[in-house]
C-alpha cells in the first residue's frame, strides 16, 4: 500500500460523530452564550499592556501640562531669586509707575520679604550690600541717578560713587542713610533692578555704649573727688600724685567721650553698598507665561521620566525572574505535551 493509497483510505473513512453526540452538542451550542466578561477581563495580556503604556504616557503628559499651566512660577522660583523677584516685581513696578528700564524691579517681592531693620531705641550698626542687574547702559545710568536721589530723599548722602560703562556697565556706590530708614532705603533701592545678591548685617552697639557711659560717669565722679581734695592743704608729694591721677582720668574721659560720639554716629547712619550692573548676554530673563508653563511642563516631564526609569531599574530584576519563570513553565509544558502524546 502506497502513501497515496493510505491517504485516500484515511480520507474515505473520515470519522463522523454519532447522532447522540450531535444532538447533545447542538443542544449545548444552541444555549445562550454566557454574558461576556467585564471589559477589564477581556483586555488581556499584550492588549492590556499595549493600552497601559499609552494611557500612562498620556497621564504623565497631562499631569505635566496641568502643573505647567497652573503653577508656572515654580520654574522661575527654582531658577534663582533674581527671576522670581523680578517676575513678582513686574506687576508691582507697573502699578507703582516705576520708570522704564526698571520695570522688572522686585519692589513688590522685597516688600513681601522685607529685610530686617534696626530696633528702635537701641544703637545698632546697620551694613547692607545689594547687587542688582539692570537691562542696559541707559537703565544703569537711570538707576544710578535714582539711587543717589533715594539716599538724599531719605536724609542720607552718597559716600562714594564709581560708574563705568562699556561692554558691561557697572556702578558701585556707598550710601549713608539714617539707620531708622535703612529698611526703607534697601526696599526702594531693590526696586531699581533685578536682585542678584543682597546681604544685611546688623550689630548691636547699645551694650558697648552703656558700658562707656558708666565708665564716663565713674571718671567724672573721680575727677570731682580729686579736684576737691586738691583744693585742701596737702604735702607736695601727695598733691603731685593726685594731680597726675586726675590728669590720667581726664585724658581717659576725653577718649571715652570721643569713642561714644563715634559709636553714636556709626549707629545713627546705616551703610549701604549698592552695586549695579547690566545684564549678561544670555542671562535668564523671565519669559512669557506660556514659556514658563512650557518650561515647567518639560521639567515635570523630565522628573516623571526619571521616576519611570528608576521604577524600571528597580523592577528589571523582577521582570527578568518573571520572564525566566514564564519561559521555564512554557518549556515544561511543551515537554509534558511531548511526553504525553509520544507515549499514547
Amino acid at each position: 500500500m502506497t502513501v497515496s493509497e493510505i491517504v485516500d483510505e484515511l480520507r474515505a473513512t473520515r470519522p463522523r460523530a454519532g447522532e447522540a453526540l450531535r444532538l447533545q452538542v447542538l443542544t449545548l451550542a444552541s444555549q445562550p452564550v454566557p454574558t461576556a466578561p467585564p471589559a477589564r477581563d477581556r483586555l488581556r495580556g499584550r492588549l492590556r499592556l499595549g493600552l497601559l503604556v499609552p494611557v500612562a504616557a498620556g497621564l504623565a503628559v497631562a499631569t505635566a501640562v496641568a502643573i505647567g499651566v497652573t503653577r508656572p512660577q515654580e520654574t522661575a522660583r527654582e531658577a534663582g531669586p533674581s527671576s522670581a523677584t523680578a517676575e513678582r516685581a513686574a506687576d508691582a513696578a507697573t502699578s507703582a509707575g516705576t520708570p522704564p528700564g526698571t520695570a522688572n524691579a522686585p519692589s513688590a517681592a522685597f516688600a513681601q520679604k522685607a529685610p530686617p531693620g534696626t530696633t528702635p531705641g537701641r544703637a545698632q550698626r546697620y551694613v547692607a550690600s545689594l547687587t542688582l542687574s539692570v537691562e542696559d547702559a541707559d537703565a544703569l545710568s537711570e538707576a544710578t541717578q535714582r539711587a543717589l536721589a533715594i539716599a538724599r530723599d531719605l536724609g542720607g548722602f552718597v559716600a562714594s560713587v564709581r560708574y563705568a560703562t562699556g561692554d558691561e556697565g557697572t556702578a558701585s556706590m556707598t550710601l549713608r542713610v539714617p539707620s531708622a530708614r535703612a529698611t526703607d532705603a534697601v526696599t526702594r533701592l531693590s526696586a531699581l533692578g533685578t536682585i542678584v545678591a543682597q546681604n544685611v548685617q546688623i550689630d548691636d552697639l547699645q551694650e558697648s555704649l552703656d558700658a562707656t557711659g558708666r565708665r564716663i560717669e565713674q571718671l567724672r565722679a573721680r575727677i570731682a573727688v580729686l579736684t576737691e581734695r586738691l583744693g585742701t592743704d596737702l604735702d607736695a608729694a601727695t598733691r603731685a600724685r593726685l594731680q597726675e591721677e586726675r590728669s590720667r582720668a581726664q585724658a581717659e574721659l576725653q577718649q571715652l567721650r570721643a569713642s561714644r560720639a563715634a559709636t553714636t554716629a556709626e549707629a545713627r547712619l546705616a551703610t549701604i553698598q549698592l552695586d549695579l550692573r547690566t545684564e549678561e548676554r544670555g542671562a535668564a530673563v523671565p519669559g512669557s507665561r506660556i514659556d514658563r508653563a512650557l518650561d515647567r511642563a518639560l521639567e515635570v516631564l523630565a522628573w516623571e521620566a526619571v521616576g519611570a526609569l528608576a521604577v524600571a531599574v528597580a523592577l528589571a530584576p523582577l521582570a527578568l525572574v518573571a520572564a525566566a519563570v514564564w519561559a521555564g513553565r512554557r518549556a515544561h509544558r511543551r515537554r509534558d505535551e511531548s511526553r504525553l502524546l509520544g507515549a499514547s
Binding site: M1, V3, I6, T13, P15, R16, V25, L26, A29, V33
Partner: protein
Amino acid sequence: MTLEQPLATAAPRTLAEAAELHLDDVFGYLLYLTRDRETAEDLAGSTFEKALRLWGRFDPRRGTARTWLLGIARTTALDWFRAESRRRRREESVAPPERVEEAFVEGLSPELEAALATLSAAEREVLVLRVVLELDGDATARVLGISPTAVSTRLSRALKRLEEKVTAP
C-alpha cells in the same frame, strides 16, 4: 492527492452554526488522538462546553472557527491525557494495563488500523489534521503550537512509518 487545499467554509456567526459545521472535525481529531470512541465523544462534549463559555472571545480575524475549536479540543485532550497518565500510574501497581481497542475508525482496513495503532498520539494528531481533516500547514501549526516546518517533518515521518507498517509482511 493534495494536502494544501483547506475546506472552504463561511465564518459561522453562532456557536450552533460552528458546531454544525465542525463537530465531525472535532470528533475525528479526538478519535484519532485517543483511539477510543467513547472517550472522543466525552471530550467532544467537553470541548463544546468550553467553547460555549469562550465564544465571546472568538475573533474570526485571528483564525477560523474550525482552528479555534480544534485548539480547544487539543487542550481538552491534553488534560485528559494528564489525568489518564496519573490514573495509570496509580493503577499499574495493583492491576495490569487495559488493552487498547485497535479498531477505532469505522471502515478502515485492518492493516491500516493496526498500523495507526503503532503511531504515537503526536504522529496521529498531525496525520488527522493534515490528511483526514485537510487543514493547511499554517492552520495545523497553529493548532499544535509548533512551526509549519515541524508539521511537515512530523507528517512525513508519520506517513513513512505508516507505509512501512502497512507494507511489512
